[in-house]
Amino acid sequence: MTVLALEDDGLGACAAPGGAREAVDLSLVAPVEPGDEVLVHAGVALVHLAAGEGEWTAA
């Protein structure tokens, strides 16, 4: 999901592809900034995905 905005207390709003928005606890991956990609599970961001790592590189 893409980080949209940061709020107090480690929380933030994130958006999925298509625009669905979810309130997410970002404290385990802080610091993040709006525009960053994170992996979210059960309302918590577990991984801060590095830019440019979304390419398929199996071959």
Binding site: A16, G19, R21, E22
Partner: protein
């Protein structure tokens, strides 16, 4: 692997026998699953209601019953509406109550003529909420070209109903162009949906505010008669069967049709239209949009020679801009719906037991 052992064959045959038996309603209590349109609902209908009333019209399990009255073929249907919240993005309970019933008539090939309206109101309901819904009903009825010809009002104590429950009964006249029946399905028929799927159910799920999740999704509630009218004109008796893909979604409707007709269905997942916002929210919740309710999407099975005309007619009708062919009727395996996934593999698309529940794993 390719040789089936004696033991395996026996076990599979035993399961087949158990599955093909008429469902028996043995649950100790009614649960929400019985109202979700999946296997539990089917058990309730086939195991309790159908045997009790023993009506040939009911046994067809269509969206409306056909009755012959002095030479006129009438279609009759009834539906209750218990949505929470009563207003949601894209519509409200009053609009649903008209369109839902009108659509059951339309997909049965009947021109909607009139509806009745029964209201169960909760004590304390603000009058402005009631007025808003009455106006929504009137507007939707005008839009759908039906008259509200009778009604009833009951009030129950606060806490004994949730704001309001509506029941509408619809009367329609069977259109002479329509010869719709699951029995008419033939291998090679084309399967279509009249628009992007899953919007209504997802809009309601988000409007309940139970999840910290928000998306721009609106209910698709609308009368489908203008579209059915256009498709009947374009496809004539090449139009085999129509269903209104309400609760349980497109997946449940296809399973009902496959079971009722003994054919198989193959759906190409990549061809199923889903709005990006619906897809995104569904992915977060772990729900398949094909199982999510619609209030303005029909599923059509059309003979190959009429398919192109039917699709064009759908696309030209209000709400049909996003219509698409999603698959075909096949012979094997009978009674089952298969999906060719966007990734190229195949799987079975079964009926759910109850509501699609968000998954965690």
């Amino acid at each position: 692997m390719s040789t089936v052992s004696e033991r395996e064959r026996k076990v599979l045959d035993m399961i087949e026998t158990a599955r093909s038996k008429r469902a028996r309603f043995r649950d100790p209590r009614v649960t929400m699953a019985h109202g979700a349109g999946g296997k539990a609902t089917q058990t309730l209908i086939e195991g309790l209601l159908a045997p009790a009333f023993a009506s040939p019209a009911l046994d067809v399990m269509g969206d409306a019953g056909l009755v012959d009255v002095a030479g006129a073929e009438l279609a009759l249907t009834t539906d209750s509406f218990v949505v929470k919240p009563i207003r949601f993005p894209g519509g409200s309970i009053g609009e649903l109550a008209v369109n839902g019933t009108v659509n059951d008539l339309a997909v049965s090939g009947a021109r909607p003529l009139a509806i009745t309206l029964a209201m169960v109101l909760e004590e304390g309901l603000p009058s402005e909420d009631l007025r808003a819904e009455v106006e929504a009903i009137a507007a939707a009825a005008r839009e759908a070209g039906v008259e509200v010809v009778a009604g009833d009002t009951k009030v129950v104590e606060r806490g004994h109903a949730d704001a309001m429950y509506l029941t509408t009964t619809g009367l329609g006249l069977r259109d002479p162009r329509a010869a719709l029946s699951p029995a008419g399905l033939r291998p090679g028929d084309h399967l279509m949906v009249s628009g992007p799927v899953g919007a209504h159910g997802m809009a309601i799920m988000l409007a309940r505010g139970e999840f910290e999740l928000d998306a721009a999704i609106e209910s698709d509630t609308r009368s489908l008669w203008p579209m059915v009218d256009a498709v009947l004109d374009a496809a004539g008796d090449g139009l085999r069967c129509l269903r209104d893909a309400t609760r349980g979604g497109v997946a449940s409707v296809l399973n009902e049709l496959a079971r009722a007709s003994g054919v198989a269905m193959l759906v190409r997942e990549a061809a199923v239209p889903v709005a990006p916002a619906v897809r995104g929210a569904a992915e977060i919740l772990g729900i398949d949009p094909l199982y999510v309710a619609n209030e303005g999407v029909l599923v059509a099975a059309v003979a190959p020679e009429s398919a192109e005309a039917a699709l064009a007619a759908m696309r030209g009708a209000p709400g049909g801009e996003g219509a698409a062919e999603i698959g075909a009727v096949r012979t094997e395996p009978p009674g089952m719906v298969l999906v060719e996934t966007a990734f190229g593999g195949k799987r079975v698309m079964d009926q759910l037991v109850g509501d699609p529940l968000p998954r965690i794993c």
